[in-house]
């Protein structure tokens, strides 16, 4: 083995010079094509979002000008005022924020508790239970849609935010919640065992170890979970659609759909695309702010689990 390694090492030494000379032209050409493709795809990725912002600043009736007008003339910032004034947008924003924050809080607190149990403690059936936990990630959530509706209806929780919050206080017991347990557990497994073993010898309880040692050290994983969870709940549409129906608890997602339907239903020329895009931008802003301020946690979370958030 070592001999082969030596030979390949020598061979590499020998070919380095020739390779760079030969490959130089190819590499630059390849790089150019690569850069061009990347640039093109990046533009395509961003165009619809830019178009959204641009349209939200346009005067009513000027949304469909051809050729497309990227910089609105005139720029109407008032669309945002109108969007808030002509509807309860502020209330819907508040509803969505409350649901997303409370669900996320529950997710992070209880998932980390369960993750600690799976990462550090030994008990009968742990392996089997962990496999069950992971397999709930593979289950399609729709199978339980009808029964959970029945459950929450029996509890009298329909048309309250409770069905969207309470299941997330059961450490990954909600559908898709196992993702967060998995993420935090993977992170905790990487932490050195000496830390909690030392604390154990000093007489600390497991809960104390969890709360005082593991939780502070797992901050990156907790942050990643919190971000995934917040964005999931902020964007969620199916669950609010099924569990909420009054205007009082309407979320931004429900409102946008309601707005689209009433506007498009109002006749072709009457659709106020500019206001609709303004409301959409309002919905996207918190997500974008979080994304740009915590991007590294996203990337890390995806890399750690190999799965994206649910």
């Amino acid at each position: 083995m070592q001999r082969i390694g030596q030979i390949s090492f020598q061979a590499r030494e020998g070919t380095t010079r020739r390779r760079t000379l030969l490959a130089y032209g190819q590499t630059t050409l390849g790089h150019l094509v690569g850069y061009a493709t990347l640039f093109f795809v990046a533009v395509i990725s961003l165009l619809p979002l830019l178009w959204m912002v641009s349209t939200s600043l346009k005067e009513f009736g000027r949304e469909f000008l051809f050729p497309p007008q990227w910089i609105p003339n005139p720029v109407v910032f008032g669309n945002y005022m109108t969007a808030f004034e002509t509807s309860n947008l502020a209330r819907y924003f508040g509803n969505t924020l409350m649901i997303a924050v409370l669900a996320t809080l529950g997710t992070v607190l209880t998932s980390s508790l369960v993750a600690f149990g799976f990462a550090r403690l030994e008990f009968f059936g742990k392996r089997v239970l962990f496999i069950i936990l992971l397999s709930t990630l593979m289950l399609p959530g729709i199978v339980t849609l009808v029964p959970t509706f029945v459950l929450f209806r029996t509890l009298g929780w329909i048309d309250t935010p409770l069905p969207l919050i309470v299941p997330w206080w059961f450490g990954g017991g909600a559908f898709g919640g196992a993702f967060y347990v998995f993420l935090i557990r993977q992170f905790m497994l990487q932490l050195p065992r000496e830390l909690d073993e030392a604390a154990l010898v000093d007489g600390a309880s497991y809960f104390r170890i969890y709360w005082r040692i593991m939780l502070p050290l797992s901050k990156p994983a907790l942050a990643a979970s919190a971000i995934f969870s917040f964005i999931h709940h902020w964007n969620d549409f199916l669950n609010p659609l099924i569990f909420l129906n009054s205007e009082e608890w309407r979320t931004l997602a429900l409102y946008l759909r309601f707005f689209l339907y009433t506007e498009v239903g109002g006749g072709a020329g009457l659709t106020r695309w500019n206001l609709m895009m303004a409301a959409s931008v309002v919905m996207l802003i918190p997500v974008l702010v979080i994304f740009f301020s915590a991007q590294r946690y996203f990337i890390r979370g995806v890399a750690l689990t190999g799965i994206a958030g649910r």
Partner: protein, 316 residues
Amino acid sequence: MALADQPELPRRRRRVLLPGWTWRETQGFLFIMPWLIGFIVFIAGPFFFSLYVSLTEWSFIGDIKWLGLDHYVRLLSADDPRFVQAVYNTTYYVAFHVPGVLLISFVIAGLLNQKVRGIAIYRTCFYLPSITTGVATAVLWFWVLQPNGLLNNFLDIFLEPLGVSGPNWLGSTSWAMPGLIIMSFWTVGTTMIIFLAGFQGIPQHLYEAAEIDGAGWWAKVRNVTIPMMTPQIFLTSVIGVIGSFQVFTAALIITDGGPADATLFILLLLYQMGFRAFNMGYASAIAWVLFLIILFLTIVQFLSARRWVYYEGERA
């Protein structure tokens, strides 16, 4: 992991949940208790209850009437033309969406891995659409797919010289589905990030060895990159199939299944049956058929994985 290696710890008073359990084991159970309760109440319980409901006729308000397998017979004997249509549409969508997303994100991640300058900026650009999924982007794409919307404006650059104009995406039974599929490609970002992480984990010496053997660009991709990436390809395709069989939000908002059921997905039919027509039994049966389809495809993928997925360290 080995508990036996641990030093003898100061013993507390032994309290037990079940006979024969140490306090340590009991505590382990207490830590995972929230999940266990949640799992039983919100997942396992509803899971079996829905199986029961699927064997009944129930509109939610009246009594439950036992039907046996009637719903399943109706679904599986293709007696309901809308269900057949929904299965066809969903398969159509999955067949283009999953391979498309894998291919596009593989190429982009591969390009990003070439030590590109400004990699962080590009990564952000590609990932951005993935986190903005949901209603806001569905509304946006409703607008982009209008006959005089952004997509057709873009296509006109190529089509106008030919004297053709872009299709009326959402108004045509043959173009509505391609429109939704194109929209779905917009969110390749998450898969791309998973692939990028995979690319960065491929040991450089494999490429060097291949180069010594005289491998060109394509040979390296074919014989090093793709085999080393099979775990990521496998995982994303399993998750992609599970997720895309449950496509819902975009279709409900943009087309609501139309025109003429051309974009009626299984989940959309389930929603209409259960929560608009209040036919809970039938909706649950649809859910179970969908579940079995997904389960079958997942098992097939896992079985086939033995043939083509390479885990390093497994076969040394």
